[in-house]
Amino acid sequence: MNRTKGDEEEYWNSSKFKAFTFDDEDDELSQLKESKRAVNSLRDFVDDEDDDDLERVNWSGEPVGRRTRPGSFQSLSDALSDVPPKSYAPELGRPKGEYRDYSNDWSPSDTVRRLRKGKVCSLERFRSLQDKLQLLEEAVSMHDGNVITAVLIFLKRTLSKEILFRELEVRQVALRHLIHFLKEIGDQKLLLDLFRFLDRTEELALSHYREHLNIQDPEKRKEFLKTCIGLPFSAEDSAHIQDHYTLLERQIIIEANDRHLESAGQTEIFRKHPRKASILNMPLVTTLFYSCFYHYTEAEGTFSSPVNLKKTFKIPDKQYVLTALAARAKLRAWHDVDALFTTKNWLGYTKKRAPIGFHRVVEILHKNSAPVQILQEYINLVEDVDTKLNLATKFKCHDVVIDTCRDLKDRQQLLAYRSKVDKGSAEEEKIDAILNSSQIRWKN
């Protein structure tokens, strides 16, 4: 929607909504609050009868009670603007309109309505637990989270936490608001108390654990994680927390060591492939990749060796092979790649095996620009013939395509492939030789 410049102007200028502002009256405001509080507490002695049935009279003798405040009584200034009267003063006998916001007799629903509209509204008159809860329930019934939280802030300030927690436990909507509020303002202590009271042990533990995200220093973070280990996580999560601690502990050691090696400049791998980033706080798989890249040949006894990581964190074979393959292929260490998949049986025969499927191996090798001979070797290990042909075609491993077509006795496909290879190339010759062979009984 395009708006003309003039329209835009209007947007900015034609503002009619006067939001409530506190301007700079806070001194007087707080004074007033103070005096109001004093007056209120006095009133508690004076009004021992049912409040609502009595007409209230303020000190100047004028009635201020709700029943005597018909709609027409609403002062114009109150009706036409949300900006409260400029000055609140504690003197008696001021025009009533100026008392309005601090009037003692807003019912819970009036109070909630005013809060909903963003107006300031003293909650101090809600002193009995019953009144407070009624106010809270009224807020909840209006569904406005802003108001629910406003009331909760008041309750938090004026109720002991045991009572507050007890009452919120049976008021789930309000409880959720308090929890979110405490999270947002970062009142971790009260939040943990609350979870403890509610017996929500897992949330308690997670909430404590979350704090580690704010700790930058690796040593301090590690120490903090240590304090998380004994927390009441589920059995499964406990293991994850333990792993998190161990991982960071390892990373700190590896980082210190490697930074030293790198700056000393004596180690070939670091000279050839300078580290791009620190390994601190990286995920386990990234750490494993790093270790396969820089520390592949190390003995199991060192913290930085891949085998050690695999054992310590019970990394599944599949994940290990995948990561090691990516790292070694990146270094173009084809010999290591080969060894990764070679197994010996009890008779001493070697066999190639991959827990991840050789088609994946081929893809990863290709991604790391492995030479054709290497690719070919692994494509040949793919069991499914269609996949094999697809891969071979995709990665231009002519020999594999040609041999497979021959084995399938698929003359048509071989003919089709002939048109894809270069004229006069060795591949073309090979295809022609096969096509002319009388040994093969073509199926088509």
Binding site: A19, F20, D24, R176, D243
Partner: protein
Amino acid sequence: MASAIGSLPQHPETTEKSRPVPENSEANGGAGCPAQDPDVGSHGADPLPGKKDLFIEADLMSPLDRIANVSILKQHEVDKLYKVENKPALSSNEQLCFLVRPRIKNMRYVASLVNADKLAGRTRKYKVIFSPQKFHACEMVLEEEGVFGDVSCDEWAFSLLPLDVDLLSMELPEFFRDYFLEGDQRWINTVAQALHLLSTLYGPFPSCYGIGRCSKMSYELWRKMGEEEDGETKGRRPEIGHIFLLDRDVDFVTALCSQVVYEGLVDDTFRIKCGSVDFGPEVTSSDRSLKVLLNAEDKVFNEIRNEHFSNVFGFLSQKARNLQAQYDRRRGMDIKQMKNFVSQELKGLKQEHRLLSVHIGACESIMKKKTKQDFQELIKTEHALLEGFSIRESTSYIEEHIDRQVSPIESLRLMCLLSITENGLIPKEYRSLKTQYLQSYGPEHLLTFSNLRRAGLLTEQAPGDTLTAVESKVSKLVTDKAAGKITDAFSSLAKRSNFRAISKKLNLIPRVDGEYDLKVPRDMAYVFSGAYVPLSCRLIEQVLERRSWQGLDEVVRLLNCGELAFTDMTKEDKASSESLRLILVVFLGGCTFSEISALRFLGREKGYRFIFLTTAVTNSARLMEAMSEVKA
């Protein structure tokens, strides 16, 4: 816009938010969207007269961009613009103005600036403008930090941004996390106010339907506002026939799917922000990025936005050929014709040319990216999950995604899709996927998993149905303390998804005999390549057909919305038949472009016209990010 104060009969309380005078708003014309007062200058002019520096929260930049520009700010004597960041401000201005969301951390930021000034013995004027409204908790922070009174506050009740002729956004992406994860109802008032504003602009809505707790609450609060200010809409002719409110958690599945209609795909690939997108060098094939406004005014875009991606290329190349032909006409023109051509047609053609090349570039870039990430296989897996077959294969596909450290958000999304379609993961699988995820993407995602579980996006299957039985028993005994403790265990907003059963009841997986022709879609399933009709859209279709929830009881029950589906019909006699065709759909927690496309299709088929109001436009990545617990 004329001031409404005094011109309308109003209850004293109602004047605070004067509404635009509800005059001939063209609900049926092009403008489905009301313009709105951004009440920045809440005193009729400048909230803070004189020279000032303006600090804007990053999230508010794009919305502000849509309605204002730097020269307007300059006219308001804004000297320098800053982003609200967690850094000390270098501003030397005597007046500082902050335009922020009502967030605690923003208050702390402002307070730290004020307190630093105080320490330095410096006095300045500070003004905070909250958008869309101020929260009491924010004032509490200002008070606690000792700067209450030093800082004055205002509100910019800017809650409806018209992104397009049929799309209004509240630009509140945090709504999703705040409500669906934390259970915080702080934005319900904002939603109710937006609805209130719309009803004052377009008259009462003859029929209202809704589903979900949040919808119900927003609806109730909105009604309450109406009662408090009665007389407003009475006697007015309704211009919008139906309004439909829907909670995002009624249908997570649709939002979690990969999008394949053009607009959705552009959003998934490049992220549309506030109706515009930044196309990088890979699209523009130059070294500069290009910011493109995507809406109905872009004639090329408008024709392809709702199309399945497979049709877009063909369409664009046809378009390019036509364009070439039109250019070619100039050959053989005489001087006069040429003059005409240059003065009248050339500009249009050039414009079209520019748009065409942008969208062709975008398509190419999308193709490249999608081929690289094996999109075909991904879509296949998603469809298998939706239909509920080869679960084993899908699970290992997801596993491999995780093991190879493919994008963490993508892996999370697939896990959630698996969980919701399967009513939770088998405990053994849940554990194994979670472990692998933490190993691949970082242990701190333990917190993400806890969030997802609470929101019901990624859960473990409970042994049998005993859990729900206990839960219902317990809820009858809420006053009992011990029982209260037990309910806590179930106190999250999570619910069983029952997707499979719902899908069957609503026929969400169309039976396809032969190929689904994506060029000539026959139902809303086309937005997911014919594999799945979006649940949210199907619900809307069904209710509109019946004009109630009647006959959908079982579906409503399966959606866990037993008491949360509502219908409110007032007399329709005043509504013209024309207005009854106009339907406002409100998505609480966000809607996707795929859903919008699907409903636009439904509208064309059934002769409806939909207008969308959403808390924000969303997609699977945004939902997952909202749940992610990552380092700041």
